[in-house]
Amino acid sequence: MADVVALSGTATDYAVKKDTWGNVRRYLRRNPSLLVGMFLLFCLLAFWLVGSAVYDTSRAAALSVPDTVHPPSAEYPLGTDRIGRDIMAVMIQGTMLTLRIGLIAGILGVSVGTIVAFLGGYYRGWFDTLLKGIVDVGLTIPGMLILIIIAVNIKDQGLTVDQMGLVVAIYSWLWPARTIRSQVLTMRERTWVEVARLSGVSGPEIIFKEILPNLMPYMLASLVGSVSSAILASIGLETLGLGPMAAPTLGMTIYWVIFYSAMLRGYYWWWMPPIAIIVVLFVGLFMVSMGLDELANPRLRRGV
């Protein structure tokens, strides 16, 4: 019986099931995209954890290594770059720093987006009109351009990694605000919400007890999407030279690769590792978000 319910139930059924772990396992088997994506992200996390435990990551700082542009050797497993950094150490630190920027911007974006979406979508009124206007105008302008203007203006002050996350977050709440708002709009018309409203349940209680739990899987998918596009935006800005110049993030590594034409000079050990890690990161996030999409919209489930 439990099996039948699990197969035909909506996403929220999983949350209230007693045998949660068994259900999760059964679900993952049917959703290989989520499983593979999570595995890839786990590998990156393990790379950072193990790496920072056993490797001397202080060599990720500029001028910390005497030999510049040294090909891979026993001393430097991934070689060194022109700025005097050990690429292996840069990669270990950079993976986490880049993830950190994405997480700061993604979590901030989804939180602010959700709050705004609920205030506007549930209570409507002038605030909703204003919000919709801001989001529509904001999404018409390519975020990258606004971020470029912002980053250019604060570049001289010297950005830190966390500030980089905040800069990207300025733009990352717009999309969650729009999509979550449209979900709230349909939710507030559902029968169970109406019943709650008629029985005199207050607005905040309806939001937290009736609507929010049902939107959890959706918001999770939205979070992964936001983190992914925040990382994309941050790497884009960094490649243009608008990132934290001194920090060994993956995007800044790409910037230095282009700056010193590492490609033309055949310094393969300099540009291959950051690209490989970025590819694993994006493919992992892409697969997790595809898998979560399926979890959030059970109607998408199909045999194709």
Binding site: P142, V152, D156, L232, T239, G241, G266, W271, F282, V304
Partner: protein
């Protein structure tokens, strides 16, 4: 077309451009450091042959945006310049105006992006249609699936890998630039071939990473269309498979894709900023990169405003034209 719909769309256009312009004006004021006067001062004190021009420019700039002027007056001056498409002089290439520099490079970008966007659309839609078509051979699926993964990889990183393989290792294609330096660019076949061979790698990296996006959209539309009654009827009539695919399924599934194509065409100017940086392609993106490196604030501002203007304009045209093209889109639904 209802008048209030047209007016509302037009209002959105004005608000978008105005909001972007205002942000552009206010941001430097909030940081307390004026990047323009700082840079101008730097250039003026450095000396050299452009020093005379810099000092002059500094004076004009002070007159217009000096701290003695109230903020609203500076704002009006700024807006007035903008309406006349006057983006001031470039700081790093002094006697040249920003708008001239942009005019020189924008055709490279439009040429590259227009052709790749259309190719992406054609290849991606065909791939998506074939993937969803139950009668297409099994091996097609194995070929197309990697493209879906490629769409998750930023296009400029793909560009770096392509440069390494085809430019550095195999030496089949030039690694950077838009044409061979020192040659005269005309409309003769030799220079056209030269331009094409330089554009091939940037174009390839854009196309490879975008095919997946188009294929996914097309595939889901094809799945929907195949469940329609007219498909069952057409099949029952005994029509040939090719007729079914191309005349019935594809034609109905492609409409939303055409809408996406129109939207994508709006992003032609800004779509390849980073790929141009990777390939040092002489378009607007590389110009922006160089301007950022030199802190040429007027050029950065000019490019950003120009791109926003281009996108707002195409969005406006699209909003007005789409309901005419596709009767399923109504004026009311767009509010």
């Amino acid at each position: 077309m209802p008048l209030d719909y047209v007016l509302r769309r037009f209002a959105v256009f004005v608000v978008v451009v105005w909001a972007a312009a205002t942000l552009n004006f206010l941001l430097p004021k909030t940081t307390g450091v004026d990047p323009v006067s700082q840079k101008l001062m730097q250039e003026a004190t450095r000396g050299g042959y452009i020093q005379q021009g810099m000092t002059q420019m500094m004076q004009v700039y002070r007159e217009k945006f000096g701290l003695d002027k109230p903020l609203w007056q500076q704002y009006l001056t700024y807006m007035n310049d903008l309406i006349h498409l006057d983006f001031n002089y470039s700081i790093s290439q002094y006697p040249k105006k920003v708008i001239e520099i942009i005019r020189d490079s924008i055709w490279w970008t439009i040429g590259l992006l227009l052709s790749t966007t259309i190719l992406e659309f054609l290849l991606g839609s065909l791939a998506g249609a074939l993937m969803a078509w139950p009668k297409s051979p099994k091996w097609l699926g194995y070929i197309f699936t990697p493209f879906l993964t490629l769409s998750a990889v930023p296009y400029y990183l793909l560009g770096l890998v392509l440069v390494y393989i085809f430019g550095f290792q195999l030496r089949w294609l030039p690694m950077f630039g838009g044409y061979t330096p020192g040659t005269f660019i005309g409309l003769d076949p030799r220079s056209l071939l030269d331009i094409a061979s330089h554009a091939l790698l940037p174009a390839l990296s854009l196309i490879l990473s975008a095919i997946g996006f188009w294929a996914l959209g097309m595939r889901s539309m094809m799945v929907t269309v195949q469940g329609e009654d007219y498909m069952i009827l057409a099949e029952a009539k005994g029509l040939k498979d090719n007729t079914l695919l191309y005349k019935y399924a594809l034609r109905n599934a492609i409409l939303p894709q055409v809408t996406s194509l129109a939207i994508a065409l709006g992003y032609v100017v800004s779509g390849a900023v980073l790929v141009e940086v990777v390939f040092a392609y002489p378009g607007i993106g590389n110009l922006l990169y160089l301007a950022i490196r030199n802190m040429d604030y007027f050029v950065i501002q000019g490019i950003v405003m120009l791109i926003i203007f281009a996108i707002a304009t195409t969005t406006l045209i699209l909003d007005l034209a789409l309901p005419l093209l596709d009767p399923r889109i109504t004026y009311k639904g767009a509010s």
